[in-house]
C-alpha cells in the first residue's frame, strides 16, 4: 500500500485550565490514503473538530498539541512554525467549514478571492489564475461562471456559497481536504448536491478527505472508512460498512441504534443511558464504561486503545452483530 497522505499517531491535544489539564483529543491515531474519504463522527465535544484543527494548525491557544505526531505526505507538520503552516494551509490542505459565509471575505469579489489564493500558492500568471478561477467555478456547478466571478459572497445563496468555498479549497490542488460539517447548515436537497460534488471532485483528483460530521447518513453515503470518537478518544476505526452495520464498540452500537431510522416500526427509540462525560470528568479506564451495558471490572481499570484498522477500543467488543 502506498504511503498515506495524512498520518496521525497518538495525537494528544491539551488545554491547561485552572482546574487541571483537559484533553479534548487523547492519543488518537488514523491514516487517510490518497483518494480516500475518512468520516470522523462523534457527538458534540467528542473532539472530532479539535483533531481537524490540530492538523491544520488552527488550535486556539491555550489549546496545543501535547503529544504524538502528524505527517502529511511523509513530512512532519505538527512541529512546523506558524509561517510554514500558513504556506501549508490552502496549498497542501484545503478547508471547508460549516458556515460558508464566515469562510469567505464579504468585501472581496469571489473571483479575486480565488485568483489571490492561486497566486499565493501556485507559480502561475495572473491571467492564467483568472482563467482557472472561471474553470473552477464552472466545475463546482455555478451557472454563468464567467459573469459570477465579479459577484460578492452575499449575492449567492447558501448552497452556491458552499460551492464557492469548495472551489476555493480545491483551487491550489491540495492533497488533503478537511471538511468540517460542510452540509450541516444546508437544506436536504442542497446537502445532497454538495455531498455529490465533494465526492466527485475528490475522486477525480485523488484528494484525501477528512469529513467531520455528526450525520450518520452522510457518512454512510460518502465515506470509505469511519473513525468514531468518544470523549476525545477513538472508539472505533474501520471500513464504513463494517462500522455502521456491525459495530464492535458498544458506543457505536448504541449510537447507531438510537437513530430514528434504526428503530423503524418501534414505539420507542433505543437509548444510551446518561451523557458523554465532560472533559474535566472523564472516568478512569474506558471513558464509556459508566454507560456501557457490557462493562466489567477490567473496563474500569484501563482503556484499550484501537490496535489497528477495523478494531474497537473495547475489551469486550461485540462480534459480528447486526444493529437490531
Amino acid at each position: 500500500m502506498a504511503d498515506p497522505v495524512l498520518s496521525i499517531r497518538d495525537l494528544t491535544v491539551e488545554i491547561p485550565t485552572r482546574h487541571g489539564i483537559l484533553r479534548p483529543v487523547d492519543r488518537v491515531s488514523y491514516d487517510i490514503a490518497q483518494g480516500e474519504i475518512l468520516g470522523v463522527v462523534g457527538e458534540s465535544g467528542a473532539g472530532k473538530s479539535m483533531a481537524g484543527n490540530a492538523v491544520i494548525g488552527l488550535l486556539t491557544p491555550p489549546a496545543h498539541i501535547a503529544g504524538g505526531e502528524i505527517r502529511l505526505n511523509g513530512q512532519r507538520i505538527d512541529t512546523l512554525g506558524p509561517r510554514a503552516l500558513r504556506r501549508l494551509r490552502g496549498k497542501d490542505i484545503g478547508m471547508v467549514f460549516q458556515d460558508p459565509l464566515t469562510s469567505l471575505n464579504p468585501l472581496i469579489r469571489i473571483g479575486d478571492q480565488l485568483t489571490e489564493t492561486m497566486l499565493t500558492h501556485l507559480d502561475i500568471s495572473r491571467k492564467e489564475a483568472e482563467a482557472r478561477a472561471i474553470a473552477a467555478l464552472d466545475e463546482v456547478g455555478i451557472p454563468g461562471a464567467a459573469r459570477r466571478i465579479d459577484s460578492y459572497p452575499h449575492e449567492f445563496s447558501g448552497g452556491m456559497r458552499q460551492r464557492v468555498v469548495i472551489a476555493l479549497a480545491l483551487c491550489a490542488e491540495p492533497s488533503l481536504v478537511i471538511a468540517d460539517e460542510p452540509t450541516t447548515a444546508l437544506d436536504v436537497s442542497v446537502q445532497a448536491q454538495i455531498i455529490a460534488l465533494l465526492k466527485r471532485l475528490c475522486r477525480e483528483r485523488g484528494t484525501a478527505v477528512m469529513l467531520i460530521t455528526h450525520d450518520m447518513g452522510v457518512i454512510a453515503e460518502t465515506a470509505d472508512r469511519v473513525a468514531v470518537m468518544y470523549a476525545g478518544r477513538l472508539a472505533e476505526l474501520g471500513p464504513v460498512r463494517d462500522v455502521l452495520t456491525k459495530p464492535q464498540h458498544p458506543y457505536t452500537h448504541g449510537l447507531m441504534a438510537s437513530t430514528p431510522l434504526a428503530s423503524r416500526g418501534q414505539a420507542r427509540l433505543h437509548q444510551i443511558p446518561g451523557a458523554m462525560p465532560r472533559l474535566d470528568a472523564v472516568p478512569d479506564g474506558c471513558a464509556f464504561h459508566p454507560r456501557c451495558p457490557a462493562a466489567q471490572a477490567r473496563c474500569t481499570a484501563s482503556p484499550r486503545p484501537v490496535a489497528q484498522d477495523g478494531a474497537a477500543a473495547c475489551w469486550f467488543p461485540r462480534i459480528k452483530q447486526e444493529v437490531s
Binding site: E43, S44, S157, G159, M160, D187, V188, S189, V190, Q191, A192, Q193, I195, A196, K199, H214, D215, M216, G217, V218, A220, E221, V240, R241, L244, T245, G254, L255, M256, S258, T259, P260, L261, A262, S263, R264, A267, R268, L269, H270, Q271, I272, A275
Partner: protein
C-alpha cells in the same frame, strides 16, 4: 373532532427596503408570502408534523398557531375559538392556557439569570396560580432531579436544557404543544432520549403535538400525520406509512430521495436540481414546476389545489 382547524391560512411579510431607498431607487414595495393558503386539521391526541426546507413556512405556521403572529388571511381555530377574531377575553385566555411551545435552541430559550424553578413556574405564576412544589414535580416528570430546581440553566447540558423547556411547557397543563425543531440542536443519542420523553408524556397526559422539523427520520418516527410544505404551500399530506412508502408529490419524492440514508453505502444518485426559488417572487402556477421533471404547460399557469387521493391530500395536477 379536530382540536386545531386551520383554514386558508396565509401570512405575508413586508420586506421592502426603507422608505428613502424606495423613493430614491423608485423600487416598489416587496412582499414575502411565507404561508399561502394552507388548510389543515389536527386531531386531539395526535402528532401532526410539518416538514419542509428553510423558507417553507413551517415555523411561521407554528407561530400563528400559538398566536405569536397574526394571520394575514384565513383562520386558526383552536377548539372552536379563533384567537385572532374572538372578542371575549376570558375565552381567549382559557384557550391560550392550553397551548404551549418548545423551541429549537435550548440555550436561547432559557433566561440565564433565572433559576430553573422560576423558569418552569413562570407560565403558572404569570396567571397567579399556585406554584408550590410544581417545579420539583415537573423536573422529576421530565427525568431530572427535584434538586435541580435551585440551579441556573448554564449548569445543564443541551439535552437537559431541552428537558427544562419541556417541563416549562407542561407547567400550565396544556393540551396542545407546538414543538419547533425540538431536537435539531441535539446529538443523536440525546435526541433519542428527548423524543422518547416526548412520546411518553404524550401518552401519559393526552397531549397533542405539532412537530415542526426538517428531519424526515424524526418525523417518520413521531408523526401520525405529516404535512409537506414547499414555499409556503402545503403540497402533500399523508400518514407516515403512505408518505414514505409512496410519496405522490414530485417534491416529496425528491426530498425523500435526497435524504442521506444509513444503508446508502456508496450510493451515487443524481442529486436534485436547482434550489428553492425566491419567495418574494414565487413561480407562477405550481411553485415547484421549475425543478419538476414532469412539469407541463398547465403546471406553469395554474396553481394546483390540494386534492383528496386515497387518504392523502396532494397538490399536484399529475398525481393520481
Amino acid at each position: 373532532m379536530a382540536l386545531v382547524r386551520v383554514e386558508t391560512l396565509s401570512r405575508v411579510f413586508d420586506v421592502s427596503k426603507p422608505w428613502l431607498n424606495r423613493v430614491l431607487e423608485r423600487s416598489p414595495k416587496t412582499y414575502l408570502t411565507a404561508v399561502s393558503d394552507v388548510s389543515i386539521e389536527i386531531e386531539a391526541r395526535s402528532t401532526y408534523a410539518l416538514v419542509g426546507e428553510s423558507g417553507s413556512g413551517k415555523s411561521t405556521i407554528g407561530r400563528m398557531l400559538v398566536g405569536l403572529l397574526a394571520p394575514s388571511g384565513g383562520t386558526v381555530e383552536i377548539d372552536g375559538v379563533d384567537l385572532a377574531q374572538e372578542r371575549d377575553a376570558a375565552r381567549v385566555a382559557a384557550v391560550r392556557d392550553r397551548i404551549q411551545m418548545i423551541f429549537q435552541d435550548p440555550f436561547a430559550s432559557l433566561n440565564p439569570r433565572w433559576k430553573v424553578r422560576d423558569i418552569i413556574t413562570e407560565p403558572v405564576a404569570a396567571r397567579g396560580g399556585d406554584t408550590s412544589g410544581l417545579a420539583e414535580e415537573l423536573l422529576e416528570q421530565v427525568g431530572l432531579s427535584a434538586r435541580d430546581a435551585g440551579k441556573f440553566p448554564h449548569e445543564f447540558s443541551g439535552g437537559q436544557r431541552q428537558r427544562i423547556c419541556i417541563a416549562r411547557a407542561l407547567a400550565s397543563k396544556p393540551e396542545l404543544i407546538i414543538c419547533d425543531e425540538p431536537t435539531s440542536a441535539l446529538d443523536v443519542s440525546v435526541q433519542a432520549q428527548v423524543l422518547n420523553l416526548m412520546s411518553d408524556l404524550k401518552d401519559d397526559l393526552g397531549l397533542t403535538y405539532v412537530l415542526i422539523s426538517h428531519d424526515l427520520t424524526v418525523v417518520q418516527h413521531m408523526a401520525d400525520r405529516i404535512g409537506v410544505l414547499y414555499l409556503g404551500r402545503l403540497v402533500e399530506e399523508a400518514t407516515p406509512d403512505d408518505l414514505f412508502a409512496s410519496p405522490r408529490h414530485p417534491y416529496t419524492q425528491m426530498l425523500l430521495a435526497a435524504a442521506p440514508r444509513m444503508d446508502g453505502f456508496g450510493r451515487d444518485i443524481p442529486p436534485p436540481e436547482g434550489e428553492i426559488p425566491d419567495p418574494t417572487n414565487p413561480p407562477k402556477g405550481c411553485a415547484f414546476h421549475p425543478r419538476c421533471a414532469l412539469a407541463t404547460a398547465r403546471c406553469r399557469s395554474d396553481r394546483p389545489v390540494l386534492r383528496d387521493l386515497g387518504g392523502s391530500r396532494v397538490a399536484c395536477h399529475l398525481a393520481e
